[in-house]
């Protein structure tokens, strides 16, 4: 077992743009919004940055490729900028690269920034993307809602859950996130919704309705990381440090063998176990104060509670309906509104999740501040349930 990353790297500053349909802003403007806040929060000048990692997914409708879009937008001082792309988990990957660079001693201070400009396509939903020359010749012209909706059909079959009951449980997931998002001034959607509204919404991909789907948003988020000793020397207190950064990636087993039953996300379970090990967490249900998970669709969040071992397998429906993951529940989830309401600018989402944990752990989350969280977990999933990249990261107060 590797030494791990626990407490070797701290957050020096973070920033996050307003998410939403940002008709007013180009990707460059969004990047600058997040960068300005992060740099002010860190209290450093551009000359102190040693390297940058840049996450964006849909380059063809956003920034274009490579590291240059970030360097040019922010007029960085010719430092290395590395483009990172790993589906919806790209933001977490950019963080991991920056953190590892600092932990390795190759950099003192590094920045990870993610941005996505999705609303310049002319249509709703995620932009169409290309998948090489072979896959389109046999694979369905798949869309994210139908890929994730299949979790619901397989979950129902695996656990013998009645369709109406599961529909109500996933509606609760969205009602909760809307209630949380209503308290977040940077969120894409800041309006509470009723269970009835969610249940009656038009179907997008059976059984998922409109309110079961996350927002398709523009936005950017940035994190500046450094060693704890440097952070202290810069006058920082109440440091938030990294406890675990784990990524697990599918190798085709789920999609090709007949062994996976489709009712859970295989990589999430693997990444979660590794992350708890790395962070020294033995009782996640007691030790994790809060989570920001990849609720691209309501069913994903419900299943993720089981895959992160925060619910017993098969008990997700009951726990969700009990309010276990509501703002007042035992482990609040998506206190910022999550992908559902804060929004989902793909390349930025992993960093946005971290942003909320950072604010909450430092007691700076305003109207939605939780009571004394000490350990937070982000779960950032790219791809689809049957084939994906899953990142599970754990951060906490220094010494926690």
């Amino acid at each position: 077992m590797a030494q791990g990353i626990k407490d070797k790297v701290a957050i020096l500053g973070m920033g996050c743009s307003k998410f939403g349909e940002r008709w007013d802003a180009s990707p460059e403007d969004l990047m600058l919004e997040a960068y300005n806040e992060a740099m002010a929060d860190a209290g450093i000048t551009p000359g102190q940055l040693d390297a940058a990692w840049f996450s964006t997914h849909m380059d063809d409708v956003g920034t274009g490729r490579g590291g240059t879009p970030m360097s040019i937008a922010l007029r960085l001082p010719n430092i290395g900028v590395t483009r990172v792309e790993n589906f919806c988990a790209g933001g977490s990957e950019a963080i991991r690269a920056a953190v590892y660079a600092v932990a390795a001693g190759a950099c003192d201070i590094a920045i990870a920034l993610g941005v996505e400009k999705l609303k310049d396509t002319g249509y709703g939903g995620l932009p169409l993307s290309t998948v090489g020359t072979y896959i389109p010749q046999w694979y369905p012209n798949a869309v994210a809602p139908a890929n994730f909706a299949q979790l619901a059909t397989a979950y129902r079959a695996r656990h013998g859950v009645d369709a109406a009951l599961l529909k109500r449980a996933i509606a609760h997931v969205s009602v909760k996130s809307h209630a949380n998002g209503a308290k977040n001034p940077k969120a894409h959607f800041q309006k509470a919704v009723s269970e009835e509204t969610v249940l009656k919404a038009p179907i997008i991909a059976e059984p998922l309705g409109l309110f079961d789907c996350a927002g398709v948003s523009d936005g950017a988020a940035a994190v500046i990381v450094t060693r704890p000793d440097i952070a202290h020397s810069l006058g920082k207190r109440d440091l938030v440090t990294f406890k675990a950064l784990q990524v697990a990636v599918s190798n085709g087993w789920e999609l090709q063998s007949s062994e996976w039953d489709g009712s859970y996300v295989h990589t999430t379970r693997i990444a979660a176990k590794r992350a708890y090990d790395e962070a020294g967490i033995t009782k996640p249900r007691e030790q994790v104060s809060m989570t920001e998970v990849h609720d691209c669709f309501s069913i994903t969040e419900l299943v993720t509670m089981e895959d992160l071992f925060l619910s017993e397998v098969g008990h997700g429906v009951q726990d969700v309906l009990n309010g276990d993951f509501d703002a007042e529940g035992r482990i609040p989830c998506q206190i910022d509104g999550g992908l559902k309401c804060f929004g989902h600018p793909i390349g930025a989402s992993g960093i946005r999740m971290l942003y909320e944990l950072y604010l909450q752990l430092q007691g700076r989350a305003g109207a939605r501040q939780l009571a004394k969280p000490t350990i937070g977990l982000t779960h950032n999933l790219g791809g689809q349930p049957s084939q994906n990249v899953c990142s599970v990261s754990i951060v906490g107060l220094e010494g926690a």
């Binding site: 046999w138 369905p140 979790l151 397989a154 059976e206 007949s258 489709g262």
Partner: protein, 489 residues
């Protein structure tokens, strides 16, 4: 003895109600108000190639070894490609050997009979079993009589010498440029001359010459014919022709007009395949078709007739129809009504031909890779197996999935993306004995599938590249319920 050693057919699931068409067009074409029955209607993802594959599979059955087929004749007047061997696509989907002779034929309504004659000659010269497939997916003008009369279908016969079900006794042909209708290259719809002239001057005078020649070569008197098949959209033309040729009136075979419609070039073989399901040993069959002349073939049913059953059979396909009442759906599927697609419908569907060739076995034949060490099945096949923690290399051998039972693991039906027949159904399919594919579903209604539903594979259009005029094909899953309801005993 040379003759038919296997037979099959295919009729698409959708059956367009003729009343629905008549009512939709009543303001314009009130003369069709009394139209009865339904006509077969190809789904949006079917064309003459996919229907040819379906008929051939009905004929050949699920046997994995198709090496006995040494040649393939594909007859159609609506082949999707003018250049690219259409029968080559069919051969790939059927996983026939690469060293067979595959030939496209067309140009007249009797081209399927020409193909049978060619196949017989090949078998006679020791060329091995010949597979004859006929298919048509014709377009018509809205408000025309052809729109109501035509139907989409396909048929297939295997010609050989072992276990002959119907012996070929002889044939007659007449090739003349009698133009009852025509369609220029690049045009979509036939142009027809007056029916009375075609009846009196064409069919009545030309068809008997081919029929008489066939009967003479077969040494069978007309009065001994038990079944006379003569596809024609004109009312009672077959009965008139029978009378003129001395064939008993009761020998005239029903043309499936009410259930299928006139499928055109494949119709003679389709009706023959339907007839063979109930034909008795010793019966004589005369099959004739008209077009740029006429052609006739004579068969005698053998004692082996009951030893064969097609996978589903024409009667099975007819029984599994789903009546369709949407005339606009018909027009849309025929490419004659351009619905708004939204921007999601703008995605480029260019096909990388080099990629397609490299993966032809998987794409055309649905051939997976089975690890000869662990038995695990991989689609698409790969050099490395997925076996967790112990991936083996270069252990996979070709393993066909197309005819294996399968069921749904997970599914969804989405309305977000552009799809010609929304909602777009797809999901994960698990094959009995191993193998899993996330694939499109077709020929189903909302609510028809759930986890565990039994499915079967069909070869269909995957995407159409309208910019460049290329069609790519792949396999889709469809509920197997109809198979269970009509499975041969």
């Amino acid at each position: 003895m040379i003759g038919i050693t296997a037979y099959g057919g295919y009729v698409p699931r959708l059956r367009l109600s003729r009343q629905a068409v008549a009512q939709a067009n009543a303001w314009y074409a009130p003369q069709f108000g009394k139209a009865k029955g339904a006509r077969a209607m190809a789904n949006w993802d079917e064309d003459s190639i996919t229907m040819a594959v379906a008929a051939a599979r009905d004929c050949l059955g699920a046997a994995p070894d198709r090496r006995r087929v040494r040649s393939l004749y594909l007859a159609s007047d609506t082949l999707p490609f003018a250049e690219r061997l259409n029968s080559g696509v069919v051969a790939g989907a059927l996983t026939l050997d690469e060293d067979i002779d595959a030939i496209d034929l067309g140009g007249s309504q009797r081209a399927a009979l020409s193909a049978v004659a060619q196949a017989v000659a090949r078998v006679q010269s020791g060329g091995g079993d010949a597979l004859v497939i006929a298919a048509d997916n014709r377009k018509t003008r809205a408000g025309s009589s052809q729109e109501l009369e035509y139907g989409d279908a396909s048929s297939a016969l295997l010609i050989g010498t072992d276990h002959v079900l119907a012996e070929y006794l002889g044939g007659g042909t007449l090739s003349v440029d009698f133009v009852d209708h025509f369609r220029a290259s690049g045009e979509e719809v036939d142009y027809h001359w007056e029916e009375r002239w075609v009846r009196d001057e064409g069919i009545s005078k030309l068809a008997p010459r081919a029929i008489e020649a066939a009967l003479k070569q077969a040494s069978v008197p007309a009065a001994k014919i038990d079944h006379f098949i003569f596809p024609c959209a004109f009312a009672k033309m077959d009965a008139q022709l029978a009378k003129a040729c001395g064939i008993r009136p009761e020998a005239v075979v029903d043309m499936l007009t009410e259930q299928v419609g006139d499928s055109g070039l494949p119709h003679g073989l389709l009706v023959l395949a339907h007839l063979l399901e109930r034909a008795r040993p010793g019966q004589y069959i005369l099959l004739a078709q008209f077009g740029s002349g006429a052609q006739a073939l004579v068969f005698r049913v053998t004692d082996a007739i009951d030893s064969f059953k097609p996978a589903r059979g024409v009667s099975g396909w007819i029984a599994r129809g789903s009546e369709e009442h949407s005339y606009t759906k018909f027009l849309s599927f025929k490419g004659q009504l351009a619905f708004e697609r939204g921007m999601r419908g703008e995605q480029d569907k260019k096909t990388a031909l080099s990629t397609a060739w490299r993966h032809r076995s998987a794409l055309m034949g649905l051939v997976a890779g089975k690890c000869e060490v662990t038995g695990s099945v991989h689609f698409p096949p790969s050099r490395m197996s997925y076996d967790q923690g112990k991936p083996l290399q270069d252990t996979q051998r070709p393993y066909k999935l197309a005819d294996r039972p399968a069921k749904v693991l997970s599914w969804s039906a989405e309305t977000l993306s552009y799809h010609p027949a929304p909602p777009h159904h797809y999901g994960q399919i698990d094959f009995e004995g191993g193998g899993r594919i996330l694939m499109d579903f077709t020929d189903l209604d909302v609510g028809e599938v759930s986890a565990g539903t039994a499915m079967e594979m069909v070869f269909r259009i995957k995407d159409t590249d309208e910019r460049r005029g290329f069609t790519r094909y792949f396999w889709k899953a469809t509920p197997a319920r109809a198979a269970a309801a009509n499975a041969p005993e």
